[in-house]
Amino acid sequence: MTAQPTLNDVLANSSLIVTCGPGGVGKTTTAAALAIAAARMGRRVVVVTVDPARRLADALGLDMESRAHEPHQVSEATDGTGSLSALMLDAETTFDRLITERAGDPERAAAVLANPVYRSLAGSLGGAQEYMAIERLHQLHSSGAYDLVVIDTPPSRHAIDLLEAPDRLVTFLSHPIYRVLTLPSRSFAKVTNAGSSAFLWLVRKLAGPKIVEDTIEFFRSLATMEEGLRTRAAEVSVLLRDKQTAFVLVSSPRAEAIAESTHLVNALRDGGFRLGGVVVNLVHPLPPPAEAFVDLAPGLLADHVAYHAELFALATSERSEMAELMALAKGAAEAELPLLDADIHDVAGLKALAEMLVTPSRKLSGSAAAAVP
C-alpha cells in the first residue's frame, strides 16, 4: 500500500494545478498560497487568478490595470532559487488574443473584434470565462517559461462547466444552425432547410434585423478560425487529463459547500481528471471538551461557557461534514486551513498560509492542536 500523498508531493510533481470549488471559500487565496509553496521549493511558478479580492490583488501586485493581465514577478515571494509570477484573468482580452492569433490576417481580426455581437459574446457567452481560463492556461503551460502553472477557476456552482468548456465549444461549432450560418453568402440564399432559415426568421422576429446581420457576419468570420479552435479545444482536453495535471479542490466545512464539493469530486472522477488534493478552508477550531457546569447563573463566566458550547458544537459538526468529503476523496492529499480573524493582504500572510498547507501535521485530523491559528 502506498503512503497517503501530501500536498508537497502534488506541488513538486505537477506541471499544472487547477483549483476548483464552490464560491466564497477562499479559492483564490488558496491558489496563491499553493503557488508560493511551490515557488519556495525552488520551482518557477505562475499563478493565474480570477477576480481576486482587492487586498489580495494588491499583495500580488495586480493593483495596476496596465500590467495586471500579463505575468509579472512577485519578488518578495521567494528567497531562494524559485520564482513566482502572477496575473489576473480577463476573459475579454484573452478572447481577443485568441481571435487575433487565429484570424490569419489583421484585417479579418479587426473586423471580428469590432463586431457588436462578438463584443457582447466575449464578455458574456455562457462558459466564455471558463473557456478563457483554460485557454490562458494552455498559453502559459506551452510557453516553457514555467515549471508549474497554478490556475484558479471562476466561481461556479457547477464547476464542471470549466471542464466541459472545450467540448462545449466544439459542440457549438458542430451545431447545424452554426453550419448554415457559416456558409458563404451565395449558397446561403439557396438554403432550403426549413429549420435553419426559420431559425433566422425567429431571431429576426424576436430581436430585430440588425442583430441577425451582425450574428451572421460574426459566425462567418469565425468559420475561418474554426479548425484552429477545434485543435486548441482538443489539446486542452488532453492537457487537463495529463498525469502531471492535478486538480485541487478547495471547500469550506459548511454542508452546502461540502455537497457541491462532493458533486465536483464525482464529476472529476467521471471525466477522467485527477484529484490531487483537497483543502478545507475556514475551519473553526475545536476546543478541548469542557465539563458541564451545573446550575451556573448568568454572568461573565456563563458567557464563556455558553460560547464554548456553541463553538464546540459548530466545530464538531464541521468535522463530521469534512469526514464525509474526505472519505469520498480517498487517495488525494489533504489539508485544513483555519478561519483567520483577518483577510490575507500581503505576501507575508500568503507565505504563512503556504507553510500551513505543506506542513504534514496539518492534515485533516479533527484535533484541536491542528486548528488553532
Binding site: 440588425k210 463566566l301 460560547y307
Partner: protein, 323 residues
C-alpha cells in the same frame, strides 16, 4: 391575503414589494435567508412563491418539503392560507412559455425547437437571464402569490443576472425581446413591485463585495434595496472580553484545570471573532447607508428546519439604523 394586511403582521419591509430578490456573493447564506424570509411571511398567513433561479436542491428539504424542481410544488403549509410553494425556472422552459404567451406558433415554433436555446442564446447574450426574469415578471402580473421571493444565482452571477435586461436594451434595438427587456427593467426599477435584499457576513471580503454589489444594483438598474441582512453574527457576550479566569473570579466560581484549558481556547478565539465582527460592522455602517437586520450564527455546519426557524425569528424585526 393582500400586502397591506401582511405589512401589519410582519415587519413592513417584508411586504414592501411584491417581488423580493435575495442576493449575495457565494458562501454568505443568501439561499438560506431567502428560505427564512419565505417562512416569515407564510407563518403569518401569506401565500409565498419561492423561486430558486439556480435550483439549489437542498432548499426544499430545508423548508421541510421535497427538493425544488421546475414543477411548482407546495413545500410547507401553515394554518389558514399560509403556505410556501417552490419552483425553479429553467431558461428553456421560460423560453417555451414565452413563445406560447406571445402566441408564436407554427413554423416559428418549429424553428425554436429545431435550434436549441443554447444557439439562440449565443446570438443574444443575456437572453437566458432575461427569460427567467421575464417569467418572474409574468408570475407577478398574474398575481401568482401574495409574495414572490427570488433566490438569485450565487457567486459572481447575481449582478449579471439582474443587469441582463439593461444589457440587452443596449444591444437589441427593436422587437419582442426589446419589449421584454424594457418591461423587466421597469419592474426592477419600480419599488412597489420589486426590492433587493442583500445578504453579507461581518467579514472583510464579504463586506467589500456587498458594498460593490449594492451600488452596482442601485445605480445601474435602479433596484430599491431593502435592509441589509448581516448573516451569522456571534452574539456579543461581555464575559468574552476578559479571560475565563477573571470571569470565574468575578462570578465567584473556581475553575478546574481542564475547564480553564478548554475555555482559554474557545475564549481567545471568541474574543478575536467578536472584535473582528465589530470592526466590520462599523466599516459596513460607514460604507453603506442601509438599515440592517443582524442574524445570529447558528452553531452547526448543517442547517435543518429547526435552524431555519431561528433565522426566521431573527428576520421578523424592524431593521436598525436609518437609511
Amino acid at each position: 391575503m393582500d400586502r397591506g394586511a401582511l405589512r401589519r403582521l410582519t415587519p413592513t419591509w417584508v411586504a414592501n414589494a411584491s417581488v423580493t430578490v435575495v442576493a449575495g456573493k457565494g458562501g454568505v447564506g443568501s439561499s438560506t435567508v431567502a428560505a427564512a424570509l419565505a417562512l416569515v411571511a407564510a407563518r403569518q398567513g401569506a401565500d409565498v412563491l419561492l423561486v430558486a433561479v439556480d435550483g439549489r436542491p437542498g432548499l426544499g428539504p430545508l423548508l421541510g418539503g421535497e427538493p425544488i424542481g421546475p414543477e411548482e410544488r407546495v413545500l410547507r403549509a401553515f394554518k389558514g392560507k399560509g403556505r410556501i410553494r417552490g419552483r425553479t425556472i429553467p431558461p428553456a422552459q421560460a423560453f417555451s412559455d414565452y413563445l406560447e404567451l406571445k402566441g408564436i406558433s407554427g413554423l416559428l415554433r418549429k424553428a425554436a425547437s429545431a435550434a436549441s436555446l443554447d444557439v439562440i442564446a449565443a446570438a443574444t447574450p443575456g437572453l437566458e437571464h432575461l427569460l427567467v426574469l421575464g417569467k418572474i415578471k409574468e408570475l407577478d402580473r398574474e398575481k401568482a402569490a401574495d409574495l414572490i421571493i427570488v433566490d438569485a444565482p450565487p457567486a459572481g452571477l447575481a449582478a449579471p443576472f439582474l443587469r441582463s435586461a439593461s444589457a440587452l436594451q443596449a444591444v437589441v434595438a427593436s422587437g419582442p425581446i426589446r419589449t421584454q427587456a424594457d418591461e423587466v427593467a421597469a419592474m426592477l426599477a419600480d419599488p412597489r413591485r420589486c426590492q433587493g435584499l442583500l445578504v453579507t457576513l461581518a467579514e472583510e471580503t464579504p463586506v467589500n463585495e456587498v458594498v460593490e454589489l449594492a451600488y452596482d444594483l442601485e445605480e445601474k438598474i435602479g433596484l430599491t434595496l431593502g435592509p441589509l441582512v448581516v448573516n451569522a453574527c456571534w452574539p456579543d457576550r461581555p464575559g468574552l472580553h476578559m479571560s475565563p479566569t477573571a470571569a470565574a473570579r468575578a462570578q465567584g466560581v473556581k475553575l478546574s484545570r481542564a475547564a480553564k484549558a478548554a475555555l482559554d481556547v474557545s475564549g481567545e478565539f471568541g474574543r478575536q471573532r467578536l472584535e473582528g465582527q465589530s470592526r466590520q460592522l462599523t466599516r459596513l455602517g460607514e460604507l453603506l447607508p442601509l438599515s440592517r437586520v443582524i442574524l445570529p450564527r447558528v452553531p452547526t455546519a448543517r442547517f435543518g428546519p429547526a435552524e431555519l426557524d431561528v433565522l426566521a425569528d431573527a428576520l421578523s424585526v424592524e431593521p436598525v439604523g436609518a437609511r
